[in-house]
């Protein structure tokens, strides 16, 4: 157990800090409905004596202190016990890592998979494609958020899905504080489906999906070069709505990453060609046969989001699926991002740790596996988080053991420097029914 010592409990100071933080967020981010205060006010915290895997330049420190002020890490060093702090968290004998990132989720957009009314991730509407922005549907109070936070995920990329278009829409980044201001960055990335699913959405052929992407990107360029005339209506008829073409602008300028799904080796090569032609900032999602074209991926500098457990040849486009995929890709110099196992989906995003552990069992160096569930994801999506270093955002997890072991769990989770609750609906149910017995008293427990 971790002991949290509250050295001073200056509520006034906390309130001031809280208001300042809120003001900062109001000015930098956008507002989602009614603002509420975050769960804990930021303060100065010393995390003492843990084995710190910084995942940054400092590497792994056998025993180090981490000083956190407000939402940032101030310092990481062998001994910072002289620093005046509000709280000390004893992490001696424990492993400390940056908070983990989930690269592709529907957190806050989905509550129960088979209950349509609780799903806002995917739409089926002719008018919505690249411009689809799911942020207004985002629910930071979803039960999935505390559950995954208790599993060590502190930040996630939330991506829309699509059931009828190869352009799914815009993804955004969140933290898992559960607060109403937890959208970190809207309009973060676009999602495109190629491969088998793209073919299905594009009339039955991969080639048509590819042609549709090319046409859209070409028309997005046309739009960029002739915006005024097009908006006046003084231009040829384009196939895509102006909203969709506008949404593609940050893609063709390379500002926004674009997530493209492709598993088959030949599909991956097509994505690389597309990325090259349009100078896209591509992240490949799936890449089951990535190991077969690892050198090309490395040469193109294209990162991949992997599910390391996906080794079944469950589709003809994944005949080459294998457990060594992450190791082979990493070895070739490809940046790998590890997501939740497909069968667990968004609800258990934190199981990316299990996937990463399996990737280690099949040859991926341990540190690289940890990076694949944290800093690599942050970087690929343009954030500087995912590390424990001075100046970095203070998302930190203290673990009961090796974070990649399935038997380990987070004991303390900090997001933006604030300690988070690790209570979930699942732990509440557990505690109510720990010793099930007849009668109605369970209805009055907790």
């Amino acid at each position: 157990m971790i002991l949290i010592n509250r050295k001073s409990d200056n509520q006034l100071r906390a309130l001031v800090q809280c208001s300042r933080l809120l003001l900062q967020r109001l000015s930098t981010a956008f507002v989602l409905g009614l603002m509420m205060t975050t769960s804990a006010a930021a303060e100065t915290v010393l995390i003492k004596g843990g084995k710190v895997m910084t995942l940054g330049e400092a590497g792994t420190l056998a025993r180090a202190d981490i000083l956190v002020r407000d939402d940032r890490i101030v310092n990481v060093a062998a001994d910072l016990s002289d620093s005046p702090v509000d709280r000390t968290i004893d992490a001696s004998g424990k492993l400390v890592t940056p908070g983990l990132w989930a690269p592709i989720t529907e957190l806050g957009l989905i509550e129960i998979g088979a209950a349509a009314s609780t799903n806002d991730a995917a739409v089926m509407d002719e008018h919505i494609g690249a411009a689809f922005d799911p942020v207004p549907a985002f629910n930071p109070r979803s039960t999935l958020i505390p559950f995954n936070r208790a599993g060590g995920i502190t930040r996630a990329i939330v991506m829309p899905a699509s059931e009828d278009k190869i352009f799914a829409g815009k993804g955004f980044a969140i933290n898992l504080s559960g607060s109403f201001d937890s959208v970190v960055k809207p309009s973060l990335a676009q999602r495109i489906y190629l491969g088998e699913y793209g073919a299905e959405l594009a009339g039955g052929s991969r080639a048509n999906a590819y042609a549709q992407v090319k046409a859209a990107l070409t028309q997005a360029r046309e739009y960029a070069d002739n915006k005024a005339a097009i908006r006046r209506g003084d231009w040829r008829t384009l196939d895509y709505s102006l909203e969709d073409l506008a949404a593609l602008q940050p893609i063709i300028s390379g500002e926004q990453p674009v997530l493209i799904r492709a598993d088959r080796a030949s599909d991956i090569l097509q994505v690389l060609e597309l990325a090259d032609t349009f100078r896209l900032n591509v992240i490949i999602e799936g890449a089951a046969e990535g190991w077969m074209v690892a050198e090309q991926l490395a040469a193109a500098g294209v990162p991949v989001v992997l599910d390391p457990l996906r080794n079944s040849p469950d589709a003809f486009e994944r005949l080459g699926a294998r457990l060594e995929n992450p190791a082979l890709l990493q070895k070739a110099g490809v940046t790998i991002l590890i997501g939740s196992p497909g069968y667990a989906g968004t609800h258990n995003s934190y199981l990316s740790r299990q996937g990463a552990g399996n990737a280690v069992a099949y040859g991926l160096p341990y540190d690289e596996a940890l990076k694949a569930v944290s800093v690599n994801i942050a970087r690929a999506f343009g954030f500087d988080g995912g590390v424990i270093a001075p100046g970095a955002v203070a998302d930190i997890v203290i673990w009961s053991g090796d974070p990649l072991e399935v038997t380990s769990h987070p004991e303390v989770v900090l997001i933006d420097g604030a300690t988070q609750s690790l209570v979930t609906r699942s732990t509440r149910l557990r505690d109510r029914y720990l010793h099930p017995k007849p009668g109605h008293e369970h209805g009055y427990s907790y």
Binding site: P313, V406, L429, P436
Partner: protein, 471 residues
Amino acid sequence: MQLSTGLKRYCSAWAFTVLGVLLTGCGGDDSKSADDTRGFARQSAFPSTYEVKETKPVLIQSATILTGTGERLEDTDLLLKDGKIARLGKDLKASEDTLVVVAEGKWVTPGIIDVHSHLGDYPAPAIESSQDGNEMTAPNTAQVWAEHSVWTQDPQFSLALAGGVTTLQILPGSANLFGGRGVTLKNVPGRRVQDMKFPGAPYGLKMACGENPKRVYGGKGQLPSTRMGNVAGYREAWIAAAAYKKKWEEYRENGGDAPERDLQLETLAGVLSGEILVHNHCYRGEEMAIMMDVASEFDFQISTFHHAVEAYKVADLLAENNVCAAMWADWWGFKHEAFDMTEANIAIVDQAGACAMIHSDSAIGIQHLNEETAKAMAAGRRAGFDIQPEHAVQWMTLNPAKALGIEEMTGTLEKGKMGDVVVWSGDPFSVYSKAEKVFIDGELMFDRDDPSRQPRSDFELGILDAEGERL
């Protein structure tokens, strides 16, 4: 069909199992006539042709052994002879022809048993033409048998083997109130499904509660469209089955004209006569309670609730009714009846004295049942229970064997049981450990260090590269 001596032994052992079921044939022509007229299970209709090949002795030396009986033995040897567990002990000696496995630092467990799989019926690749796991055409399809859909060349069997799975039950899907019969297979290559059939294992009947049947048939505007419609469907079927059973029993007693056979009722009557085990897809606590009442009304026993996400709410009832629960470590939220998940589910059911186990229902999950068990064990400890690996291992070996009615033959490392054994590179409850060697009936079916002992299905030959194998 020639029966090996090993098979004959299994058959006779089976006759003494707790179920007290009259054996209805293990594939021998000689036993067929009598059994077919007496039983409803028709065990000999598609007889097991699984053979234990002559195996040389195997000596696994100096391992940490989780016996599956609740014991953990350090630095201990395990001897397999004639395909069976022969001895456990220190410094065991073996004859010259013995395959010796030096297992210092390694762990040994019984073979993993998955009580809920669709391999072969939902094979890889999952293209439309191979989706043979769910006869979704009527709420009651008790007449279909999962084994008749099994594509024995499904490459996922060997992936499961590499995960230490030696036995698995293939079940029909869950669209129907009565999905049909499941079949228990040894995880060995076979041209025919009969070559894989676990000799003497009783059949299972797949039933399903809750959302699936009412969605599938309610969506078509027919019964059932509600949970109460589901229960009405079960009860009507059991009434018909009871009448069918009575008719046959009267005929067997008094002679006369044989009643007409009805495949659907035959399977249900097999449940009522105790020959066929009920495997009931059921998520919610209150639905499990109802199903136990249905079983009581028609005087049959439910073997196991599958996907029992809320088993922890009724763990005491499960224990009282001697019903097992097969659970995931942490799946949830994909539908409403899977919303109330706790990771301590297996541990709570176990600690309440009921028979708890892990299961996969997944071609990926089946490869990692040791990790899934590890997660459930860790969650149990966090809940405050003292659960050690020697106990938790039973959630993936002994208890699924009980659920399948084969615990007299496999599921633990006890003298005389089948030589179904996994040698792990380390603690099987570590994510980094791998099954290194898997023995089925004493035969080395998988060896991570020897590509020639890694089975390849027909599908895998030349599929990525004409001159190569899949991987």
